[in-house]
Amino acid sequence: MTAVRRFFGPLSPAGLWLGGAFLLLLLLLPWWGGSYIMTVATTVFYLALVGQSWNLMLGFAGLLSIGHALFVGIGAYTAAYLFAAVGLPPAVGVLPAIGLAVLMGLLIGYLGFRFAIGGVYFALLTIAFAEFVRVVIDHVSWLGATEGFFLKVSEADRHGIDLANLRGAPEMYYYLIMALALGALVLCRYLLRSRLGYYWQAIRDDAGAAEALGVNVLRYKMYAVAISSGMAGVAGVFYAFYQNSLFPEIVFNIERSIEATLGSIVGGVGTLFGPIFGTFILTPLGEIVTEAIDLLKHWHVIDPETKLDGLKLLIWGFIVVLIVLFKPKGLWPWVCVRLRLTRPEAEG
C-alpha cells in the first residue's frame, strides 16, 4: 500500500482510498452500467490514453503537438491494413504500427528541432503532416481512400474474448483500454522519475540551461516524440479494431487532435493524473450536453428541427478559454489541494 502511495505520488491516505474506490467502481462497471455507459467509459479511457501520450510531449518535454491524430491514425491504418491484407493479428501488428508512428514522429521532430528555431515550428509541422497524410490516404485506393477502410466483423465476433485478434464482447474492449490507459499512467510515472523525465522537464523549463548542464537537447526531445507517438500508435490500433471502420476525413480530422489535448488542458498539463482526470470530466459532460439538447427538443423547448451541430464544440472551446484564462495549471492540482489527495508540492 505504501509502495503504491509512494509510486503515485506521494498520495495521501485519503487520495489512496478515494482512488481505490473509484478504480473498484470502474472495474465493476460491466455489472452496474448499461451498454451506453460502457461505451462512454471506453471512450473516456481511450481519450485518456491519447491524452497521456500528448501530455508526455507537452507537459513533460515542452513540445506542443497539435496534430496528434496523425500518430493515432498511422497506428490505426497500419494494424488494420496488415490484419485485412495478410491476416496479421493486431497483437503482432501493433509493433509495426508503433514503428511507423514513431518514424513519423521522428521525421517531424527532425525537421522541427534541427535548427532550434522555436517551438512554433514543431507545432505547425505536426498539424501540417496530419493534413498531408490525410490527403495522401484520400488517394490510396488499397487503404480505401475517401470511401473508408473496413474490418470485417461477424456476429460471432461480438461474443467471447479473442485478444490476439481484438475480437470480442464490449467488456473485453473496455477492460483492454482501461488496462492500456492505466499502463500508460504507470509508464509515465516511471519515465518522469527516470533520467529521461528529469532531462525532459529541464528542457521544458529552459532548453538553454539544460544544454549548458550537459543535456543533449535534440536527442532527448526526439526520445519524447518517439515515446509519445508510439503510445498514440497503440491507441490507434485499439481505435481501428474497436470502430472497425477508418475514414481519413474522420481519423485525421483536426478535431481528433484537439480532442487529444482537451483532457490534459482541463486536468492540468504536465501533471500525471491531469489527462485522465480531465477526460473523466469532459467526455461525460459532452454526453450530458448532447442528452440535454435531445431532451429539450423532445419537450419542444427547442424546435426539434434546429440544427445544433456546433454547440458541443462551442461549449468545449469556451471551457478551454476559461481554463487557460483562470486555471492555466488545470483542475487536477486544485482538486488535489482541495481534497488533500496528495501531499503538498507533489503535483502541479
Binding site: I117, V135, G310
Partner: protein, 290 residues
Amino acid sequence: MDFWTLANAVASGLLIGLVYGLSALGLSVIFGVIRIVNFAHGEIMVMGMFFALLMFRWLGLDPLLSVPLAAALMFGFGYVLQLAVVSRVSHLPEHMQFLLLAAIAIMIVSALLLVFGPDAQGVEVDYAWDSFAVGELIIDYPKMFAAIGAIVVASLLLAFFKYTTTGKAIRACADNRMGAQVVGLNVSRLYALTFGIGAACLGAAGAIILLLFEAHPYLAPGYTLLAFVIVIIGGLGSLFGALVGGILIGVSEALAAVLFQPSMKTAFSFALLILVLLLRPQGLLGKAVR
C-alpha cells in the same frame, strides 16, 4: 499537356496566390509583432467571408465593395480580442497562448455552424463567368478583380508600416518591446492595433475570396493551415515573404491540379513546405536566427 494549359494554370494560380498572400500577411503581421501564432486565422477570414455574403444578400453589395467594411469589422474584432483576451495570457508559456487561440478558433467555427449551417453558400456576381483572352491565355474577371483587390489592400498595409508614425511605432515594438516601452510607446495599445490590422487583412481577404469560392464554416482550419504553410515558406515574420509564399503556393496548387488531380493540391503545398524546411529552414525571405 500543352504550353497554354500550363500557362493558364500558372496565371490563375498567381492571381489566387495573391489573395492567399494577403491572408498570410495577416498572420505574419501578428506573429512579427506580438510573437503569437494566430491559430484563429482561417476562422477570422471565414467570418469575413460570411459577412460579405450577408452584405451581398441583404444589400446586393459586391464582395469587393464589402472589403473595407469587412476589414473594419474584423479590425474591431481583432482589437478587442487582443486587448480583452490574448493580452491576459502573455505571461503564460507559448503553448498556452496557442491553445487559447485554438479554443477561440473552435468557438468561431461552431458559432458559424450554428448560425449558417454546414452547407456551402456563395455569391453570383454579374461578371462571374466573364473573362478575357490574351493570346490563348484566358483570365477570369473574378480572379483578376480578386487579385487587384489583394494588391491594393497589401500595398495599403505596407505603406502604412513604412510611412505612418503608428506603423513605425509598431515596427519599433516588433524590434524591441522593452525599448519601445522605454521611449514611451503604449505597447498594449499598439499590440491591440496590430492584432486588429492583422485581422483586418483577414476580413479583407475573406471578402475578396468569396468572389472565387463558396463560404462554409469548415473552410477555416484549411485556411489556417494554408497560411501557416505560406509563412513558413516565405519566412515567419517577413511581410514580403508572406506575399511571395502566397503566390508560390497558389501557383503550385494550380499546377498540381492540372498535372495530377485537384484534390492532390494540398499534398503539393506540403511537399513544398518540407522542401523549404530541409533546404532553407528560416524560409525563403526570413532572416536566419543565430
